[in-house]
């Protein structure tokens, strides 16, 4: 990894403020959160329920905006972008893996994976080639026409990962990607994320409750009451 002291970190959060209005009351989640993640890192974020992990991930994804502070990814100020600009940025620069896969049940595996490519100026042939390539990469070659509802959780999550990487983004955001899987399937998914990080250079931010999952990461951050409490680097 290059010297991070000269180069600004790939993900750079400074003084992030975020709260939710519940009725008349304003509930603060983050009052001043800082976070720096270098390109190529695999970071696990752990913490008790309600500590703000998903909220953080949604801000990184640009799905939700911070109330204050600076949010830079790859040098771009996401917090200053409008909604549609963030949406376009997201489509080109990051893939998202969800706990419950979030596949469209009436579309086949291949059609689900193809969805992000529809936003790009690609021919149907190019889209098909790319789709088959990533399905092959996640070990689902030959299952293009299968419907997600007929797949195991592990297989569905592989489709989810294939969809997240099909447009070749540099950043993968995963919200409890193994939260709904048995140990064996979870380990396969985690190995796959490790492969994507090490062999394909993807920067990965993964929220997880599972200490074993966190072990696959190069760094684990602990979030509690809206703050990072301690850091532990993997060997």
């Amino acid at each position: 990894m290059t010297d991070t002291n000269d180069q600004p970190p790939y993900i750079d959060l400074k003084g992030i403020r975020k709260g939710y209005r519940i009725g008349a009351e304003m509930v603060s989640i983050f009052s001043s959160l800082d976070l720096a993640i270098a390109g190529g890192e695999f970071v696990a974020i752990m913490g008790p329920s309600g500590s703000g992990k998903s909220t953080l991930l949604n801000m990184l994804a640009g799905i939700d905006g911070p109330d204050g502070g600076q949010l830079r990814i790859g040098g771009k100020r996401l917090d200053q972008m409008g909604e549609s600009a963030r949406s376009a940025w997201r489509a080109h620069n990051m893939g998202i893996v969800f706990q419950f896969y979030n596949l469209l049940p009436m579309l086949t595996a291949a059609e689900n994976v193809e969805l992000p490519l529809l936003l790009k100026p690609l021919s149907a042939r190019e889209r098909r080639i790319r789709t088959e390539k990533v399905l092959d990469l996640v070990g689902l070659a030959g299952r293009e026409k299968q419907y997600p509802t007929l797949m195991s959780g592990g297989q569905q999550q592989r489709v989810g990962i294939a969809r997240a990487i099909v447009s070749d983004p540099g950043l993968l955001l995963c919200d409890e990607p193994t939260g709904d899987l048995d140990r064996k399937s979870a380990d396969e998914i985690l190995a796959m994320l490790g492969f994507l990080n090490k062999e394909m250079g993807k920067t990965i931010v993964m929220v997880t409750h599972d200490p074993q999952a966190a072990r696959h990461a190069s760094r684990t951050l602990h979030l509690d009451k809206g703050e990072f409490v301690e850091e532990r680097s993997a060997a």
Binding site: A91, F98, L104, L118
Partner: protein, 391 residues
């Protein structure tokens, strides 16, 4: 743009594939739209059928003279001396004369008669037309379909096919009581489904005698040399009476009367259909709102992937339009199957009953289908906007 189309297409496809999850409510939307379409098509086809019957009645080569300042046969009266002075004219009237130089003319009166059949207390008012024998030769497009014409001076009636078909007791040879006397059906005639077919024709003197209308003439029918020579006739007769005579072609006489009744049918049909459309529109709104709720997670997923608001809007709206299109198609097909050719009757010419067939024509179907589509397009717009707000 190309990307937007691809997004919309795939979302629409996913939408339609998820329709079975919302089978009942989607079906109810389509069917309620079909119902509105049928109601409108019913009224419009009735107005259209009525129009067609009247517009197809009569000949443009036959002039009808009415007296007393009215343009309807009821209430018209031509004094006998006027009839005689017209017949006596030797100048060019633009009219056809026979070998003896006499005008080909028919003096006619129309008497509303109540026809009552056993077991039916209501009775219907029919038009009994008394005419000279030459009146039959003045009826272009009329053919004898059964029996023979009425005989001069006898109490015989020639019955229009449509009336004979719709009203029992008018078979050839049957005896019918009209007014105070009995009449015998001598035959049936066909007039291409036009308003003539709702009439009973008989000898002028027999009708006058049976209904105490001695000497009366309501209208005079004359054969024109050509449709254009009606102008010559008008000029020639402009000073025959003090109150000017109304001289019109037979075609115009009937066509002129179709407007009021068919407008009335439409005037009644449209508000009813529109009222129902508002109800169906509310149903469509409800259906599409639940569609958006049902697909909320799917919309959220593709929006997270970077799909635009436009695609969320368009795919929802297209679903609404397609459901209403299905409803409109069902409604139009059902209307055509059920209504087209359906016998109807209404109070038509001369305040007597007129039978006609409902006509589900191309423009009736188009109009009804457009209303159906509009329900979906309007009812689906708000839910489509709601879909863009889903995250």
């Amino acid at each position: 743009m190309a990307s937007l189309i691809r997004q919309t297409l795939v979302m629409t496809r996913a939408n339609l594939l998820s329709l079975p999850r919302r089978r009942a409510i989607s079906l109810s939307m389509s069917l309620s739209i079909a119902l509105v379409v049928m109601v409108l098509a019913g009224f419009l086809s009735m107005a259209k059928g009525f129009e067609q019957a009247l517009k197809g009645t009569g000949s443009s080569a036959v002039a009808v003279i009415l007296g007393g300042g009215t343009n309807q046969e009821t209430g018209s009266d031509i004094p006998p001396d006027v009839v005689r002075s017209i017949a006596a004219k030797r100048s060019d009237l633009g009219l056809v004369r026979n070998a003896a130089g006499e005008l080909v003319a028919s003096r006619e009166i129309v008497v509303p008669v109540d026809v009552r059949h056993p077991g039916d207390n209501l009775g219907q008012t029919m038009a009994l037309r008394g005419m000279d024998l030459s009146g039959l030769s003045l009826r272009d497009g009329v053919t004898l379909s059964a029996g023979r014409p009425f005989a001069r001076g006898s109490r015989e009636i020639l019955v229009g096919d449509r009336l004979a078909h719709d009203v029992p007791g008018f078979g050839v040879g049957d005896t019918v009581r009209l007014g105070a006397v009995d009449w015998t059906v001598s035959g049936h005639f066909s007039a291409g489904g036009s308003a003539f077919e709702s009439e009973l024709w008989a000898d002028l003197d027999a009708v006058r005698a049976g209904f105490d209308r001695q000497g009366e003439v309501q209208t005079l029918r004359l054969r024109l040399e050509s449709p254009a020579s009606i102008a010559t006739l008008r000029d020639a007769l402009s000073d025959v009476t003090e109150t000017p005579l109304v001289i019109t072609s037979e075609t115009d006489l009937y066509a002129g009367q179709s407007g009021r009744t068919s407008d009335l049918i439409r005037l009644f049909g449209w508000p009813l259909a529109l009222l129902m459309a508002v109800g169906a529109g509310a149903g469509a709104l409800n259906t599409m709102m639940s569609s958006v709720a049902d697909r909320a997670s799917e919309i959220a997923v593709v929006r997270t992937l970077g799909f635009g608001r436009m695609a969320a809007f368009a795919s929802t709206w297209i679903e609404a339009v397609l459901l209403s299109l299905a409803g409109a198609a069902i409604g139009v097909a059902a209307s055509w199957a059920l209504f087209n050719g359906w016998q109807a009757s209404t109070v038509g010419v001369n305040n007597t009953r007129m039978m006609f067939q409902l006509a589900v024509t191309g423009d009736v179907m188009t109009m009804a289908a457009l209303l159906g589509l509009a329900i979906g397009a309007i009812g689906g717009a708000l839910p489509a906007i709601a879909a863009t707000r889903r995250r």
